[in-house]
């Protein structure tokens, strides 16, 4: 018999690392929408970052494993609305991205028309950077290069 509470569940779910960017957690990304009892089962509601993000199913599996680790049965439900935005990434998440060489998205970007925002280099801080490719190694990143230190870096595209 487990004595885990919903707060315990919320904590372990928030601590599940993102499979593609393992230094940020689901809590950092802001993708956990709700944690509720549904009979004897914990129902965790997640929202995907990108519609086609291949990590979504891996994340759901890891969430179920984390809750099962508390001795509870879990089910994951995905909701699309309201749509996730990079504005939901927490301060901690933004810092974790920067600390790991990834330029975080600028905030307040919930526009459907694209601004021309230039991220600064996560390695040397220079603002002399240029986009190499709008689409990068994962669904949420673009590939950029720093003209000062010469290093390429990933940039989480504002969405």
């Amino acid at each position: 018999m487990t004595t885990a509470t919903l707060d315990d569940v919320r904590r372990v779910v928030a601590d599940v690392p993102d499979p593609e960017l393992p230094f940020v957690t689901l809590g950092d990304l802001g993708v956990v929408r709700d944690v509720q009892w549904h009979g004897d089962t914990v129902l965790v509601t997640l929202t995907p970052t990108y519609s086609g993000c291949p990590a979504t199913e891996v994340i759901a599996r890891h969430v179920v494993e984390a809750v099962t680790g508390l001795g509870l049965a879990a089910e994951v439900r995905t909701v699309l609305a309201p749509a996730w935005t990079t504005d939901w990434i927490t301060e901690r998440g933004l810092k974790a991205l920067r600390d790991n060489g990834i330029a975080p998205p600028h905030q307040g970007s919930v526009s459907v028309t694209l601004g021309r925002h230039v991220p600064s280099c996560p390695r040397c801080g220079s603002s002399g950077t240029e986009e190499v490719s709008r689409f990068g190694a994962s669904a949420c990143t673009a590939l950029w290069r720093c003209r000062s230190c010469g290093e390429p870096f990933d940039h989480v595209r504002p969405l």
Binding site: P48, Y50, S51, G52, A81, V112, S133, L159
Partner: protein
């Protein structure tokens, strides 16, 4: 109890989902064929966004058509329907062509999807509204990507200009079908449950025309129009494409990885 409106809405979701699914498959075909590795990655990522839209839309279509009965899943609909049951427009099923072809095709399709999803974000069906609200932001990136490349190709070398202009002419007959109304969508639109395709025409055309002109390309008026995709009548390239897309699921039912 399944209402007529539910069935119509199921078909509407299927149409939007089939457009996204088939276009996604064609983009997947570009991997290792694009002119540079960054474009392999870009086209694959755009295909992935479209696949995400397709999965949600096909799932919803299956639910709406089933009522309280067992619903067809996204996989049932993607892998186990035959050609005549696919409701996508001809534009998305056209063979890969060259890089100018895919770029100009994406310019039209992304401009269309962007206008469509922007108009569907407040749809009363939570899934359809949710997909639209999410996808409209992703499609903005697709549209921007296509725009940047059309400008570069059209206003680039003599060779890239010639091929981009050929691509503009090649896609022209497939554009009108995107903006064609029929009874089903008209009835749904009257009930506030669909966007009338014809209502998107002027806005999309002006977006695309502005890009073409800036790219020093000339818009082309086609001499014929593709028809019939929504009713399951497809062009010659659809069958071979489906044979590839459905082969694994049909030869190894229940396969997983």
């Amino acid at each position: 109890m399944i209402t007529r409106t539910d069935l119509s809405l199921a078909t509407y979701c299927l149409r939007l989902g089939d457009d996204a699914l088939v276009m996604s498959h064609r983009f997947g075909e570009w991997v290792t064929y694009a002119p540079q590795i960054e474009e392999d990655v870009a086209l694959a990522n755009i295909g992935l966004d479209l696949l995400g839209q397709a999965r949600a839309l096909l799932t919803r279509s299956g639910e709406l058509a089933a009522g309280d009965g067992p619903a067809a899943t996204e996989d049932d609909l993607a892998y186990w329907r035959d050609e005549r049951a696919f409701t996508n427009v001809h534009l998305v099923e056209q063979p890969r062509g060259d890089f100018a072809d895919v770029t100009v095709r994406l310019l039209w399709f992304a401009a269309y999807q962007h206008a469509l999803y922007a108009a569907l974000t407040d749809h009363p069906d939570p899934t359809l509204g949710g997909v639209a609200a999410k996808a409209v932001k992703e499609v903005a990136y697709h549209l921007d990507h296509a725009t940047q490349w059309v400008l570069r190709l059209g206003d680039g070398t003599a060779e890239s200009h010639r091929r981009a202009q050929d691509a503009v002419a090649a896609v022209a007959p497939y554009v009108d079908e995107l903006f064609t109304d029929d009874e089903l969508v008209t009835d749904l639109a009257d009930a506030g449950l669909a966007v009338l395709p014809s209502s998107l025409r002027a806005g999309v055309q002006s977006v695309v025309t502005a890009v073409l002109l800036q790219a020093t390309l000339t818009p082309v008026t086609p001499t014929w129009h593709a028809r019939g995709g929504r009713a399951g009548v497809h062009s010659e390239s659809m069958g071979p494409m489906l044979a590839v897309m459905q082969h694994l699921a049909r030869s190894h039912p229940g396969a997983s990885w």
